[in-house]
Amino acid sequence: MEKEINRLIDLYGQDVLRTAYMYLKDLQKAEDVFQEVFIRVFRKYETFQGRSSEKSWIIRITINLCKDVLRSAWLKRALLTDKPVEEELPQEGESLESRVAQDAEDKLLFSEVMNLKTEFKDVILLYYYHGYDTKEISEILKVKEGTVRSRLHRARQILKERLEGRVDFGDADERF
């Protein structure tokens, strides 16, 4: 089992930690959730029957734990300020101005996604970050596929409004 848990942490650990960070906006709390996720995975691994992918199962546990943490009132107060992320230097051949402008746009988008309400953040992260389709998301969140589509549509509307149309969802995404 130790070998198996090692494998799961190596395979999905980064996704778990970053997903938790996007919900909690706090690295320490994200690391706490990370530990708890794998403790639960360890405890429940034998009940996992492969009706979803391992990753879906683990991400679902992560999301549920993050929501539990967010429900805690004291933590909500503690999360009022975001931690700054480290700056990156522009790559060779890239002008500083364009890199700065692009970085600013990217950070704005990331920040707006981080600030979405949980039900919208759920679908945006699962769709755009983890690459799940709407059916898989409906299974992870245990809501109807139509609901996932509606939430995706609404989340995109919110992001478009907040980013004043500067976000490109791509043609394929406009199905929902």
């Binding site: 130790e2 848990i5 942490i9 650990g13 980064q14 930690l17 970053r18 960070y21 996007m22 690295l27 994200a30 690391e31 990370f34 530990q35 794998f38 403790i39 405890r43 429940k44 009940t47 996992f48 029957q49 009706r51 979803s52 879906s56 199962w57 679902r60 546990i61 549920n64 929501k67 539990d68 992320v85 480290e86 990156e88 990217d106 988008l109 990331f110 996604v113 309400k117 039900e119 945006i124 755009y128 970050y129 690459g131 299974e139 992870i140 809501v143 109807k144 139509g146 609901t147 509606s150 939430r151 549509h153 609404r154 992001l159 976000v167 490109d168 969802f169 791509g170 995404d173 929902f176």
Partner: protein, 230 residues
């Protein structure tokens, strides 16, 4: 937005699984008691209560599926439909799982809390088949009432209606759905010849009426739910 994965990963460049974090997690794993140790006495206690329930109850309780099913790795619970102490058993056993099955609408209402609505206008021929809920830990976040036709129709198919009530942080509009008036509230309906899907919000709960029924029937169900609050 197509680049969101890259953007997010770049923004979280300093968010990585450190070797110490992995090590700390593994150490915790082997220190933390396995819940199986707790589940064994829990299941034993539940079994005793079930036996007592059967012994003291003259009629056979509702049958309980014994599929022992799990979904997505989270244990699926079927509450013991014993007339004695069923809510206590379901609550006790639901501590570390996120799925429930309720034996009555009243039990589901108690578990869900404020905002639970009882439909009063179910189409003729449909009977309540199951009441299930999901949530995190011991908090029931949504409840689904499933109705099925008591007799199969002429085409041999048994039709279903599901009514789901889910706690939500805020309401939203359903894109592409027809808006209908539900006793002063807005409902969003989409229907075909054989199926209908209707959603509405009251306070911090979203209600879905979905199934093999006509649009008017879905609206009548929704109105009866709203009417039950007055």
């Amino acid at each position: 937005m197509k680049d969101f994965r890259r953007i997010a990963d770049e923004s979280m460049a300093n968010v990585n699984v450190r070797a110490e974090l992995k090590e700390k997690t593994l150490v915790k794993l082997y220190r933390k008691p396995n819940t199986v140790r707790f589940l064994v006495p829990a299941l034993a206690a539940a079994s005793i209560m079930l036996i007592l329930g059967i012994a003291f109850w003259p009629e056979s309780p509702q049958s309980m599926p014994e599929d022992g099913s799990t979904e997505m790795g989270i244990m699926q619970l079927k509450t013991l439909s014993s007339p004695l102490g069923a809510p206590e058993i379901s609550h006790f056993m639901a501590m570390d799982v996120n799925s429930w099955s309720f034996v009555s609408v009243e039990e589901a209402r108690d578990a869900f809390g404020e905002g639970f609505l009882t439909p009063g206008n179910i189409p003729l021929g449909f009977e309540l088949e199951s009441i299930t809920g999901t949530g995190t830990e011991d908090q029931v976040e949504n409840v689904t009432l499933t109705y099925s036709e008591s007799a199969s129709s002429v085409d041999g198919l048994i039709r279903f209606i599901t009514i789901t009530q889910e706690k939500v942080a805020s309401s939203w509009e359903y894109y592409g759905f027809e808006e209908v008036d539900l006793l002063g509230y807005t409902g969003y309906v989409s229907a075909s010849e054989e199926t209908a899907e209707l959603h509405f919000f009251l306070g911090s709960v979203r209600y879905d009426v979905i199934g093999q029924l006509q649009k008017d029937q879905a609206i009548a169900i929704a109105k009866s739910m709203i009417q039950s609050t007055r």
